[in-house]
């Protein structure tokens, strides 16, 4: 199968997956106790007032009709309007995507070189003190939950030493990059371990493989063997993990956003679900589903290129 027709088939499948996700999300949110009117009325739940809010929001129309309405806007990329504020959903998405993408891209830019380097170093010195030290440190970092690491980093570097801003409250993340340092460290801590371990394992396997032995017999230089022959094969399994990490990052890591006050997609999602603001939740579902499908497709294509003999699961 050619790369192009493979990509086309996967894209069609992806479109169907996105539709399935948004349908499922709509009915799951509908099934949650309470609707936007109940959530908005809060601690003054006068039934007469809730009925008025419901009418004002158009929630008195049947669920299927509202879903159909929303779906017909989708091809025009019209995500509808927030029930609570009346602002277009697209505004919510564009506001949340900025900080989330900035964080995700910066994390990946640091994550890839660091984890590949750590994995390769550990594999080349397999069993050495360096290997064991790198393994211990990365596994130790991996075992700390994000929020715990975040709390400790904030208490030490943000509050006690005062070296870095403890939160990103009210800040524009691009204008004040210092606010991103602590969140980046927290976001990097766990993926560095999972990816470098995969690179290390892949590299150890590759260095012990027949083709590497054959390349060495042919008299090809050791550096060339390691980095041009062994490494690409070693990276193929890690690519899938990078895809999963990318997807996780682009979904807005809620805990990190909450602790550091970064108004990304995760925060928008939590707020929208709490308010039962269905059109906003739906818009986010589209974004998350498209991201997941696209990232995984990209990962498979990259994997296909790195190790063409590997069978690709279709």
């Amino acid at each position: 199968m050619s790369l192009a027709s493979y990509a086309a088939r996967r894209a069609t499948l992806g479109l169907m997956q996105v539709l399935a996700v948004v349908t499922l999300v709509f009915f799951l949110v509908e099934a949650l106790p309470g609707d936007a009117a109940v959530a908005l009325a809060g601690d003054s739940p006068d039934p007469a007032r809730i009925a008025q809010i419901r009418a004002a929001m158009g929630l008195d129309r049947p669920a299927l009709e509202r879903f159909a309405d929303w779906l017909t806007g989708l091809p025009r990329l019209d995500f509808g309007e927030s029930l609570v504020s009346g602002r277009p959903v697209a505004q919510f998405l564009s506001a949340g995507i900025g900080p989330t993408v900035v964080l995700a891209v910066l994390t990946l830019l640091l994550l890839l070189p660091i984890s590949v380097l750590v994995g390769v170093l550990a594999a080349l010195r397999e069993g050495s003190l360096l290997d064991r030290a790198l393994t211990s440190v990365s596994v130790a970092l991996h075992s700390i939950p994000e929020f715990a690491l975040a709390v400790v980093l904030i208490a030490v570097f943000g509050v006690q030493l005062g070296w870095l801003p403890p939160t990103a409250v009210g800040a524009d993340v691009l204008a004040e990059p210092a606010v991103l340092v602590l969140p980046l460290v927290v976001l990097l801590a766990r993926p560095i371990c999972s990816i470098s371990r995969l690179v290390r394992a892949g590299m150890v396997d590759a260095l012990a493989s027949d083709y590497v032995r054959h390349a060495r017999r042919l008299g090809i230089g050791e550096t060339w063997v390691r980095f041009a022959h062994a490494l690409p094969n070693a990276l193929a399994p890690a690519v899938q993990q990078v895809a999963r990490t990318t997807d996780w990052l682009l979904g807005g890591v809620i805990v990190v956003e909450a602790v550091f006050v970064i108004p990304g997609l995760g925060t928008v999602l939590v707020d929208a679900v709490a308010a039962r603001d269905l059109p906003v939740v739906q818009g986010l579902a589209v974004v998350f589903a498209v991201t997941t499908v696209a990232v995984n497709l990209l990962a498979d294509l990259v994997g296909f290129r790195l190790a063409p003999r590997a069978e690709v699961v279709v």
């Binding site: 709390v151 005062g162 925060t267």
Partner: protein, 508 residues
């Protein structure tokens, strides 16, 4: 959210204690002389991008604080939660309390137009629009708008549908702000408040600047910025890290660990939020008066205040509005396990298991329910705590169950009764519906005789104290943290005029 709040707070406060151990106790006091200038950044919890600047839609604390900075009401609530004139210079009812003549203060909107009687009528007409659902609507519903009129530019005459002595309470209702006539677009709001609008990023920040022409005198601050941090720990950290000067709504745990430090000053507003359990008196088992009294006697209030509120509060006496105007100072109820046991036996409720509905919809409710269930052990009655969905909690417990956690912010005692304790009340969670009680309320609000009114309020509260459905065990302090150099922060109860009132605040 996957964040475990309790574990998280425990960890942060633990670290904070370690942090503070290194600091000396050279606490610098807030500068005592007011100064002008500077930008104050205030961190509040927000509602994300769904936040609005339309003051009539205000719902969250941050929206209330922003509305207060940019707009005025005709009246607002003072420290004893009684109405104080604001844009209204004075109010004069006619003899039968059905027509109220309001004289407006000389004030101008931010665009220079004067505040006129027509603006007042248009604002109230907008709130009362039958097709909309503004929060202040029920409070203003007794105004007969078609028969109300602007006498001249600075005089409004309101016609009421019935005699109502407490009409100024309605003028002070949550969200009853005066906006310019015809205002519908609030992307760049124009009000008559102490600060005028500069910029707004939903879910992130609102920037305001001093209104030099404010009728009560220009604020001291040059600029006021509201920033959003939903997690309490984030607000605390932002304050400690110097990113904000004011952090709204902190927990008693934070207050306790930072009270003696020099990095933040803790401001407590007593009597801000009542903490209670609501028994539904229209259904078993709490239709039995003895059982309600047994529950009153089972509560160990000092222990609840100490454990749930970490000492930041006072015990309650099953009556709303401690320290407010018209509050009845009856003898404080104490725990009496023996009498409670006797009453439970008398009610035939021995061995009964009662479900106590609660949720995390308000801070401390689950903890209070758990502690209370523990206090009921050994009484013959078993209380089983059931945790429900927090987003629909208030609507759920209004209809269902027989015993639930309850809390409420400050409002006049009259409003509390009108909204929750009359046959026709919209949020009558205890299902207290008694014609003779309704009649007492009618008497209180339709007489112009202040003594008779006070007597009626006392009588209503006596009945509620004896056999009502609310077990009000405590009043939580509202806790705000600020940099030590911030002066002029009032400790009036949350939701009243002086709470979050930044025109009186200065940076030393």
């Amino acid at each position: 959210m996957s964040l475990n709040r309790r574990g998280f707070l425990g960890l942060t406060s633990g670290l904070a204690v370690v942090t503070l151990a290194g600091c000396g106790s050279n606490a610098t006091s807030a500068s005592s002389t007011p100064r002008t200038g500077g930008r104050l950044r205030a961190a509040f919890a927000g509602g994300g991008a769904k936040e609005v600047l339309d003051p009539h839609l205000a719902n969250l604390f941050v929206e209330a604080a922003r509305s207060k900075a940019m707009f005025d009401k005709l009246a607002d609530l003072g420290g004893d939660v009684s109405p104080q004139p604001r844009l209204a210079e004075k109010w004069e009812p006619n003899a039968d309390l059905t027509r109220w003549r309001i004289t407006l203060r000389e004030a101008v909107f931010h665009d220079g137009r004067p505040v006129r009687a027509q603006d007042v009528l248009a604002s109230y007409a907008r709130i009362l629009d039958p097709n909309r659902a503004f929060r202040a609507k029920s409070s203003l519903a007794l105004i007969d708008l078609p028969n109300s009129r602007a006498v001249d530019d600075r005089t409004v005459e309101f016609a009421l549908k019935r005699p109502f002595a407490e009409f100024p309470n309605a003028l002070a209702a949550f969200g009853a702000y005066i906006v310019p006539e015809g205002a519908e677009d609030f992307t760049k709001p124009i009000g008559s408040g102490a600060f005028s609008f500069v910029s707004f990023e939903p879910g992130r920040s609102v920037l305001l600047k001093r209104n030099p022409a404010y009728w009560e005198g220009a604020p001291l601050l040059d600029e006021l910025e509201f920033v959003i941090a939903n997690e309490e720990s984030a607000r605390t950290n932002a304050l400690l890290g110097g990113q904000v000067e004011y952090a709204h709504d902190l927990t008693p745990t934070t207050a306790r660990s930072h009270a003696s430090g020099d990095r933040m000053t803790i401001h407590r507003s007593p009597n801000s939020a009542v903490q209670a359990f609501a028994m539904k008196v229209d259904r078993p088992p709490f239709d039995n008066r003895d059982l309600r009294e047994a529950l009153f006697l089972l509560a160990d209030r000092p222990q609840l205040v100490e454990s749930v509120l970490a000492g930041s509060g006072q015990v309650g006496n099953d009556l709303f509005g401690k320290g407010y105007q018209h509050y009845a100072d009856l003898p404080q109820r104490q725990r009496d396990l023996d009498r409670a046991k006797f009453l439970i036996r008398k009610a035939g409720a021995e061995g009964l298991v009662v479900k106590l509905d609660t949720s995390t919809a308000a801070a401390g409710m689950v903890e209070a329910a758990t502690v209370f269930a523990d206090q009921a052990k050994g009484s013959g009655l078993t209380i089983e705590v059931v945790q429900g969905n927090k987003d629909s909690y208030w609507a759920d417990t209004l209809k269902n169950g027989s015993l639930s956690s309850f809390r409420s912010g400050a409002m006049p005692i009259e409003t509390h009764v009108a909204q929750r304790l009359l046959s026709g009340s919209g949020t009558n969670v205890t299902k207290w519906a008694r014609p003779e009680f309704d009649a007492l309320y009618e008497k209180a609000v339709s007489t112009s005789d202040a003594t008779a009114r006070t007597r009626a309020y006392q009588e209503m509260q006596r009945v509620l104290h004896t056999e009502g459905g609310y077990l009000m065990w405590g009043f939580a302090d509202w806790i705000v943290g600020a940099k030590p150099n911030v002066g002029g922060i009032s400790t009036a109860p949350a939701n009243t005029l002086d709470w979050a009132r930044f025109d009186k605040v200065w940076l030393g």
